[in-house]
């Protein structure tokens, strides 16, 4: 045999050797050993399967997104469009603020965290914050809408488990200037009052809900307001509140041709940037959400009604010699002339007796129908959500018609009254007021002819006459031909009309020959400016109107006319 073949042989033998060994072993414990081996293989398969399942589960978990749901639910506040006045001045805009949240389970030391936070937020409530941070919640708000300085200070504290979320916050550059019109948003930037709420109700809220209100893509909403006039109004109101020690005052400047509200204010008001007191009862928007017995200003509607009915002519006269006695009440005149008064005299002397008699000519049903027609019995249709419903007697009797003819026994909102007065002066066209821009053409389209242009012209004459000769002289602004009607209403105190608690109003139009604007001013419970003068509307509401017109008419582009006197001046100068 060669070495090579021996090698081959050896290899063969070793193979056989292994075979032999197996045979021997099988012989030793074939049944048991073989079965055990199979069983072990089965066990291995099962255990491998279990581990594979666990591994699969881990891979499955790894594929899952981090459970953000249990963490901060994204509450990025909604974007809102800017609100601008008619000239593009910003009334309300969004600014970005940081809101502080905590992830309680990541807070290492609650006491330390609160203690440190208190150095930046001194008004943090310890108990409440501790309770929040001690919970197992994944996310709690600690303070919304912090200033950049506060945010920087909190970041510098280096407390783990705190974070910031950028939120939109509404900012009103004018502060309280137009608060009642612009309105308010809540902490989630949802409109809750004023035009802000109106904008949401117009579908912005739906847009936001569907996520379409993308940042920066919202067109500003332009209002009919003129910020300059608005400022003048508020300024005069605040001054008047102080000067007459009144509990409230309000004013509106209304475009008589379009129904646009150019400016409207009611004080006391609130700062929408810090609306802590916005819900105080005292701070409601009295112009649209307050109802008042307007008093003698209502006579303008009675007069217009009587003239427009055709039953009374401007040249008619009524006997105002004696008070009217009806149902135990006595209707008397404040500035009693005790004689027969012509219609213009009734108007300028503000005769209750004369006005009541004019209403009597029209009759109860006609009276009510007229007030209904000029919108004084229903809810005023406008954009502002805060609109009160006027009140009227449940059943109209003669006494009701008589008292209502001079403004008692039913209550309307001042804004509504101004709107109806505008219709009396502008040729008889009634249109709902608007806080959004509206052209004259648009206004004419929706206008409702409530009195004839002739009656309206007569009303302008009466208005002007009253300013020239009657109770409204203190409202005159040279060159602007202010025409107006005063109203000094006695307020009901403990169920009785009191003769020293008053609600004074003044409704004016200017220029009176063809008014561009109607101004209504009221002052609630004014006191005499100084001893020795009375606190009637002619003494407080009329000067307020004068101030507002004097300051705002040039801004509104109303040209002053100095008529004959100015001509004479020009001639004399030549």
């Amino acid at each position: 045999m060669t070495g090579a073949s021996e090698y081959t042989h050896d290899t063969d033998t070793s193979a056989v050797r292994r075979g032999a060994a197996t045979i021997v072993m099988d012989g030793a414990g074939k049944a048991r050993g073989g079965r055990a081996q199979n069983r072990v293989v089965m066990a291995m398969a099962v255990i491998f399967g279990i581990y594979a399942a666990l591994g699969g589960r881990l891979v499955h978990l790894a594929m899952q997104e981090e459970p953000e749901a249990s963490l901060p639910a994204a509450r990025v506040t909604a974007s809102r469009p800017d609100l601008v006045d008619r000239n593009g001045e910003v009334l309300a805009t969004d600014i970005k603020t940081a809101s502080l949240f905590a992830e309680p389970r990541r807070i290492v030391d609650i006491d330390e965290a609160i203690e440190k936070l208190s150095t930046v937020l001194p008004d943090l409530n310890y108990q409440q914050t501790y309770r929040r941070l001690d919970s197992d919640a994944g996310f709690v708000w600690l303070r919304r809408q912090l200033s950049p300085r506060q945010q920087a200070d909190i970041l510098a504290l280096g407390i783990p488990g705190l974070g910031f979320r950028t939120e939109k916050r509404r900012f009103y550059p004018g502060g309280p200037t137009a608060s009642h019109i612009v309105g308010l948003v809540n902490i989630d930037n949802k409109g809750i009052a004023g035009i802000e709420k109106f904008v949401d109700d117009q579908g912005l809220a739906d847009l936001q809900a569907t996520g379409l209100a993308v940042e920066g893509h919202l067109e500003p909403v332009r209002l009919s307001l003129d910020l300059r006039v608005q400022h003048i109004i508020r300024d005069e109101l605040v001054q008047a509140l102080d000067r007459y020690k009144a509990i409230a005052a309000g004013a509106v400047v209304l475009n008589a041709r379009t129904g646009e509200v150019v400016g409207m204010g009611s004080v006391p008001d609130y700062d929408p940037n810090n609306p802590v007191n916005a819900l105080d009862k005292d701070r409601l928007n009295r112009m649209s959400a307050g109802v008042f017995e307007m008093g003698s200003t209502f006579k303008l509607f009675t007069t217009a009604m009587a003239l427009d009915s055709g039953l009374v002519s401007i040249n008619d006269s009524f006997d105002a010699t004696r008070p009217i006695r009806i149902g135990g009440f006595t209707i008397n005149d404040f500035h009693g002339k005790r004689r027969v008064l012509s219609v213009p005299e009734i108007f300028i002397y503000s005769s209750n007796i004369g006005t009541a008699k004019m209403a009597d000519v029209v009759g109860i049903d006609g009276h009510r129908a007229f007030l209904q027609k000029i919108g004084l019995l229903g809810r005023l249709p406008t954009e502002l959500p805060e609109v009160a419903l006027p009140t009227e007697p449940k059943t109209w009797k003669k006494i009701n018609s008589i008292t209502i003819s001079y403004g008692h026994g039913m209550a309307t909102t001042p804004l509504q009254t101004a709107v109806a007065a505008a219709a009396m002066l502008n040729g008889g066209k009634l249109f709902p007021p608007t806080f959004l821009p509206r052209t004259e053409a648009e206004a004419n389209e929706i206008a409702e002819q409530v009195i004839s242009p002739k009656t309206s012209a007569e009303m302008r004459y009466l208005f002007r006459l009253n300013t020239e000769k009657g109770s409204g002289r203190r409202a005159e602004v040279e060159g602007y031909y202010v025409g107006g009607k005063t109203g000094t209403a006695e307020k009901v105190v403990n169920g009785r009309y009191s003769n020293n608690v008053r609600f004074n109003a003044y409704i004016a139009g200017f220029p009176a020959d063809d008014p561009d604007y109607v101004v209504l001013v009221f002052v609630d419970e004014p006191k005499p400016e100084r001893d020795g003068i009375s606190a009637t509307a002619g003494m407080n509401a009329a000067p307020m109107v004068r101030n507002i017109i004097r300051r705002s008419a040039p801004l509104l582009g109303v040209k002053p006319e100095f008529g004959q006197e100015s001509n004479a001046l020009l001639v004399s100068q030549q």
Binding site: V40, A43, I47, F48, Y51, L61, V108
Partner: protein, 384 residues
């Protein structure tokens, strides 16, 4: 290093030991120390101990554990059996003692306070029980007239009675499962499997009806309703970690996850080190179990086969239950992750247990004897 020709016990050990096993165990122990840095300071802070209380203790226990494991791995199968017998008797005695003198923690008496050290006898019982059962199965197989199987069953009954009395249903299930797997491997007839399976199901149902907290946990697992707080937190931790983890020390769920250093160390590892690490840990456990069973399959000695498979199955079941609970594949059940979870008794007992495995899986030259014995016959056959 150690010369092949060196015949000293250490050299002998070095050349015969299964280094893959040794490596895997040491790796797991090392991971245990590393992960205790992640998982236990949060718990220590929460219960008002110094931050590194559990870390220190983990390390302090780890050193004797390594020594014990390697020490035990020097033993011969015979000595393994003897040691197991001693442990079994000792652990049974201590468990009886525990029922009367044990510390009551959360309604169970599992811990015994001896010389200032608290030990959990049931941890030591498990490996000893497995080895003794393997021996009994082996004796029965070798000499069917010896009622090994019957003894094994009686022993199982005794152990289970003691565990249920504590009560410790987790360990009961573990022991039952392991014993069943061993019995299965030992060649239990399929009829028996059916009968015992039915008994097991009946027992599980009984546990469900008798112990309200068991029923509660099962219900919660099945319906997903009720207080699944721990497991929810565990899942959150793992998902937060993602593939690569948040980074060491960046875990936050551990601050609120109860038992994050023992039963939920796996989830903490997931949050900080990522699911890849979890898969690696899982693979190490699977490797140990499958390698152990694979060795058992090739093993010719029945006792060694049963003992090795029983021990690695015990090890495997424990890891499976722990990880299964952590990933919400099993109802909530307190079970430590071998070598990784904090726990002195558990660690030392596991070291002994794996020391047994190392000892039994050492390459034994005598095993080749049948081959050598058959050699002449083979050669003759070829020659002939």
């Amino acid at each position: 290093m150690v010369s092949r020709t060196d015949r000293s016990p250490v050299a002998n050990w070095w050349w015969t030991i299964d280094r893959w096993f040794l490596g895997a165990f040491l790796l797991l122990m090392g991971l245990g120390v590393v992960l205790s840095f992640a998982a236990s300071p949060a718990v220590a802070d929460r219960i008002g101990l110094s931050s590194f209380h559990f870390v220190t203790r983990q390390i302090v226990y780890m050193l004797p554990a390594v020594v014990v494991m390697i020490g035990v791995s020097f033993l011969s199968p015979r000595l393994v059996r003897r040691l197991a017998l001693v442990m079994l008797v000792g652990a049974l005695a201590l468990m009886v003692l525990t029922l009367f003198a044990g510390m009551e923690v959360k309604g169970s008496r599992r811990w015994l306070h001896i010389f200032g050290v608290s030990i959990q006898p049931s941890e030591y019982l498990k490996p000893a029980f497995v080895v003794i059962c393997a021996w009994l199965f082996h004796e029965h197989a070798r000499q069917p007239e010896i009622p090994g199987n019957l003894f094994a069953m009686l022993l199982l009954g005794l152990v289970i009675a003691l565990l249920v009395a504590q009560p410790d249903l987790g360990q009961t299930m573990l022991v039952l499962g392991t014993w069943g797997a061993m019995f299965f491997i030992a060649g239990m007839p399929w009829l028996w499997i059916a009968v015992l399976g039915a008994l097991g199901a009946g027992g599980a149902f009984l546990a469900y009806t008798i112990f309200p907290h068991v029923a509660d946990r099962i219900d919660r697992f099945l319906t997903g309703e009720g207080d699944t707080y721990q497991v929810d937190m565990s899942i959150e931790a793992i998902t937060r970690g993602g593939w690569f983890g948040r980074g060491p020390g960046e875990g936050t769920v551990k601050r609120i996850l109860p038992d994050s250093h023992t039963d939920f160390v796996f989830a903490v590892a997931g949050e900080e080190f990522g699911i890849i690490i979890l898969l690696i840990i899982l693979s190490i456990f699977a490797f140990v179990v499958l390698r152990g069973l694979s060795k058992a399959r090739r093993e010719e000695d029945d006792f060694t086969r049963y003992a090795v498979s029983g021990l690695v199955i015990l090890f495997g079941f424990q890891s499976i239950i722990n990880m299964g609970v952590n990933v919400r594949m099993l109802p909530a059940k307190g079970m430590t992750l071998p070598f990784i979870s904090y726990g002195g008794s558990s660690l030392i007992a596991m070291a002994i247990s794996m020391g047994f495995v190392l000892a039994l899986t050492r390459r034994k030259p005598e095993k080749r004897r049948p081959v050598a014995y058959a050699q002449p016959a083979g050669r003759e056959a070829v020659a002939g």
